[in-house]
């Protein structure tokens, strides 16, 4: 299945409304609403044609003041069967939380912990939501755009 076919199949077979879908040079990208995220991810994994079984990456992008909602949580999932990748984006605002996808792919556990550590985005239903790279009592979220590179002395 090539990228074009994948793009058309995802658009037609998706059980939820996609807020956006486009074919990028590197992969197919879709945007979903936060409330539809878990059902869409389950669909990606359990659908026999798509079979997106390998979670590649979970990360976030901070748009700071240029856009509201502030953050985009970005998932990259790979299909071993089709050798294709899909990028799923969810918009999250500051103080809001996103449902965790660890019930779909356990590999997201540490990746989501890192997103919380670096950006402060909370994941609901996560088995172990705590900081992973910075010390447990660290007060700030380093990858936010308003955090200086050299840190804050306290």
């Amino acid at each position: 299945m090539n990228k074009r076919e994948l793009f058309q199949y995802v658009r037609s077979a998706s059980p939820v409304t996609l807020e956006g879908a486009r074919e990028c040079p590197d992969c197919v990208e879709v945007r979903v609403d936060a409330k539809d995220l878990l059902s869409f991810m389950r669909f990606l994994k359990t659908n026999d044609v798509l079979a997106f079984d390998l979670i590649s990456d979970v990360t976030a992008v901070d748009h700071y003041t240029s856009r509201k909602p502030r953050f985009d949580v970005v998932y990259h999932i790979f299909s071993l069967k089709n050798s294709q990748r899909i990028r799923v984006k969810v918009a999250v605002d500051e103080g809001e939380s996103v449902v965790s996808v660890t019930s779909v792919w356990r590999g997201a556990e540490w990746l989501e912990r890192e997103v919380y550590d670096m950006f402060g985005i909370w994941f609901d239903d996560h088995p172990d939501m705590r900081r992973i790279l910075m010390p447990e009592d660290y007060k700030y979220f380093p990858l936010r755009k308003d955090f200086p590179l050299e840190g804050i002395e306290d």
């Binding site: 990456d57 992008v61 071993l80 050798s83 992973i132």
Partner: protein
């Protein structure tokens, strides 16, 4: 005084690391033990978190190449390659053929160097010291070749955006030929020491088993995934740098234990040697850098003689070039697994967001699955070593 035969004593919390000979860097493991059996293991990382992703947002794309060397520092050329491919994909740059073949040679040499280091240190963890000396002897030859071509052994920054930094010399090709001609005999040496060794087998066979379903569900990649029975390699599934033109096998295991991971990496040494021989035989002539002004640094000899090249060099070095707006995710098969770069560009000379997907980070999260409830303290060392982590990549 007799001790009754049933279990006595309470559970013990044992702290392993971050300074420990066998944790391959600054990894901390907190073990909850019942006797010698590990009931729970909690890996704690972040002791080498240097803030590379944040630092990349404040440096230009050219400067960030230097930082990528420091990720998986056992195979630095591969990291350079992954980053360069991501930026080239974002800009739509076509790399000349000679540079592509040189990149393949360097990536496979990195794979050999990384696996040799792994075998040496893993055997040292388990208790065998001879493979350490043997493997480092060959690794020195590879590092000498890197030094010949780029001036640096561990952090060469040789594969750059648009191609490779300098052309390879006849001395390099001669050294490479003598290396590849004799390497197979050395692999036989390592195998003679370890593969059928009863101590090795009892320390690694059926230890830290990761089933096929668990390996895929936990998102593992690289030799850990292949040892669990998934015959998958990014070089074959999503080829880059012309890998579709080379003939090589993908070794995979059936059991998913430490022994299978060892066998997979041993076989990968042979396959990498095979790829390098094919690359050397089909090395085309031509330029080594793509001719894209204001993104690709011109060759230093041109910069010193031609005013146009000097102006281009100045503009790029001072950060006055433009990368098209957009985003890209590009990953390659690093020796440890999938090394991916997700770059979000806002059209300026600095990335807006540079995400580094590290395979070691995800692979390490499977450690509790492999160990808890099944194995003893000594097996923790075997398991951690077999995942092959590099803390530079785990923590970034």
């Amino acid at each position: 005084m007799t001790v009754p035969l049933e279990k006595v004593g309470e559970e013990m919390i044992l702290n392993m690391g971050p300074q420990h000979p066998a944790t391959h860097g600054v990894l901390r493991l907190v073990l909850q033990l019942e006797g010698e059996v590990v009931k729970r293991v909690v890996p704690m990382i972040g002791y080498l978190h240097r803030g590379i992703e944040k630092l990349c947002e404040e440096r230009t794309y050219i400067q960030n190449l230097v930082l990528t060397d420091r990720l998986d520092y056992t195979a630095a050329m591969s990291n350079n390659l992954s980053y360069a491919l991501a930026v080239e994909r974002l800009c739509g740059i076509e790399v000349p053929e000679r540079a592509q073949v040189i990149r393949v040679i360097m990536a496979e040499l990195s794979r050999i160097a990384a696996h040799l280091l792994w075998i040496g240190t893993y055997a040292l963890d388990i208790g065998a010291i001879t493979p350490f000396f043997y493997c480092f002897r060959e690794r020195e030859k590879v590092l000498d070749m890197f030094e010949m071509i780029s001036g640096q052994r561990i952090t060469p920054s040789y594969i750059c955006i648009g191609g490779v930094r300098k052309d390879i010399t006849p001395e390099f090709l001669e050294a490479l030929k003598s290396f590849t001609d004799t390497f197979e005999t050395y692999i036989l040496d390592y195998e003679a020491l370890l593969t059928k060794n009863p101590i090795w087998l009892s320390r690694t066979r059926d230890v830290a088993v990761l089933s096929r379903e668990e390996a895929i569900n936990w998102g593992t990649t690289g030799p850990v995934l292949r040892a669990s029975g998934v015959q998958f390699d990014f070089r074959k599934a999503t080829p880059y740098c012309g890998y579709e033109n080379y003939e090589f096998e993908i070794p995979y295991g059936t059991n998913g234990d430490c022994y299978d991971r060892y066998r997979v990496r041993m076989e990968e040494l042979r396959q990498s040697n095979r790829i390098i021989k094919q690359a050397m035989a089909n090395l085309p002539d031509g330029p080594i850098l793509a001719d894209v002004p204001y993104v690709v640094m011109p060759d230093k000899s041109d910069v010193l003689t031609d005013i146009e090249a000097l102006i281009k060099h100045f503009k790029i070095a001072s950060g006055a070039f433009q990368i098209p707006k957009g985003e890209v995710y590009s990953s390659i098969e690093n020796p440890k697994g999938e090394l991916g770069f997700y770059i979000v560009s806002d059209g300026s000379s600095r990335p807006y967001r540079m995400r580094i997907k590290s395979s070691c980070f995800v692979n390490l999260s499977t450690l509790p699955v492999m160990i808890e409830g099944r194995h003893m303290v000594a097996d923790v060392v075997a398991a951690v070593g077999s995942i092959d982590i590099v803390l530079g990549e785990v923590d970034r």
